[in-house]
């Protein structure tokens, strides 16, 4: 039984992504819960994984980059040529 329920950290971290997406199976979910109950490192991974998921979504809004003037000029010319 123990053998059956034991999973490795590699497997646990794999299952965490499935769980985030509600794509985890019933038995895998039990195995993951048991693993997280005894593994603080994977618990930390789970928090950081969620953090990455949440903070990626609107990342571009906070990105400090702009289109170069040359590129804008090029686009402007291309746009005018078809008008």
């Amino acid at each position: 039984m123990k053998q059956l329920l034991n999973i490795t950290c590699k497997k646990a971290t794999y299952l965490i992504s499935l769980k985030e997406d509600k794509a985890i199976g019933f038995f895998d979910n039990i195995k993951l819960k048991l693993h997280l109950g005894i593994c603080s490192v994977c618990r930390l991974f789970e928090k950081q994984s969620w953090f990455i998921k949440v903070n990626t979504r609107h990342a571009h809004e906070n990105l400090d980059k702009t289109l170069s003037d040359d590129a804008k000029e090029k686009i402007s010319t291309a746009l005018k040529s078809i008008q």
Binding site: K10, Y14, T56
Partner: protein, 187 residues
């Protein structure tokens, strides 16, 4: 025909080009490719201006066109990639028993994990870390976490199986987390 007059292409570049560029560069990582996609977005928008019904805002309409261009880019790219059966990039992260090693085990970041990050430097590091991932990992990561597409659609666009998909997501997440810990948390 009235629609034509509600769109003003002259203002597009001033109003939207930087925003569309940020949106695109976050997703394709390559400045040249991103510039081309932004240009193509404006050109396509102008060519299909008759279809603009004025239901969505002009900005959202342009974003939708841009998003489709990005997905097309990924579709084309994935057909030229054979690397997704690539070497297991998680190999260095876990030991032979598939447990964390002393060096690779996640460390406490000392932040509130439920809060969104305000600092701009985080996002440029996130972008750099993402661009270091292998190509197919980047593709699934972007489509899943930035575009919020569902699994089925991503697999269809990239021509991969669901199990390939989850393996790629797993490796992308491990790689990105590792890179963020090294480059951001210890700033």
């Amino acid at each position: 025909m009235d629609n034509k007059h509600t769109l003003n292409a002259d203002h597009w570049i001033t109003d939207y080009s930087d925003a569309l560029f940020k949106y695109t560069i976050m997703r394709v990582s390559d400045t040249g490719v991103a510039e081309d996609i932004v240009q193509e977005t404006f050109l396509s928008a102008w060519r299909s201006r008759e279809n603009y019904k004025g239901i969505a805002s002009e900005k959202n309409w342009l974003y939708t066109i841009c998003k489709n261009k990005i997905i097309d880019y990924y579709r084309k790219k994935s057909s030229s990639i054979v690397e997704y059966a690539e070497a297991d990039t998680s190999a260095g992260i876990f030991d032979e028993n598939e447990h964390w090693t002393k060096d690779t085990a996640p460390k406490e970041w000392n932040i509130n994990y439920n809060q969104t990050v305000e600092k701009k430097e985080f996002y440029s590091i996130l972008e750099k870390c993402k661009s270091k991932l292998q190509q197919m990992q980047q593709s699934v990561f972007v489509m899943k976490y930035l575009e919020d597409l569902d699994t089925e659609e991503i697999c269809k666009v990239l021509g991969i199986t669901t199990s390939n998909y989850w393996v790629l997501i797993h490796r992308a997440k491990l790689g990105l987390r590792n890179c963020l810990e090294k480059n951001w948390v210890n700033l």
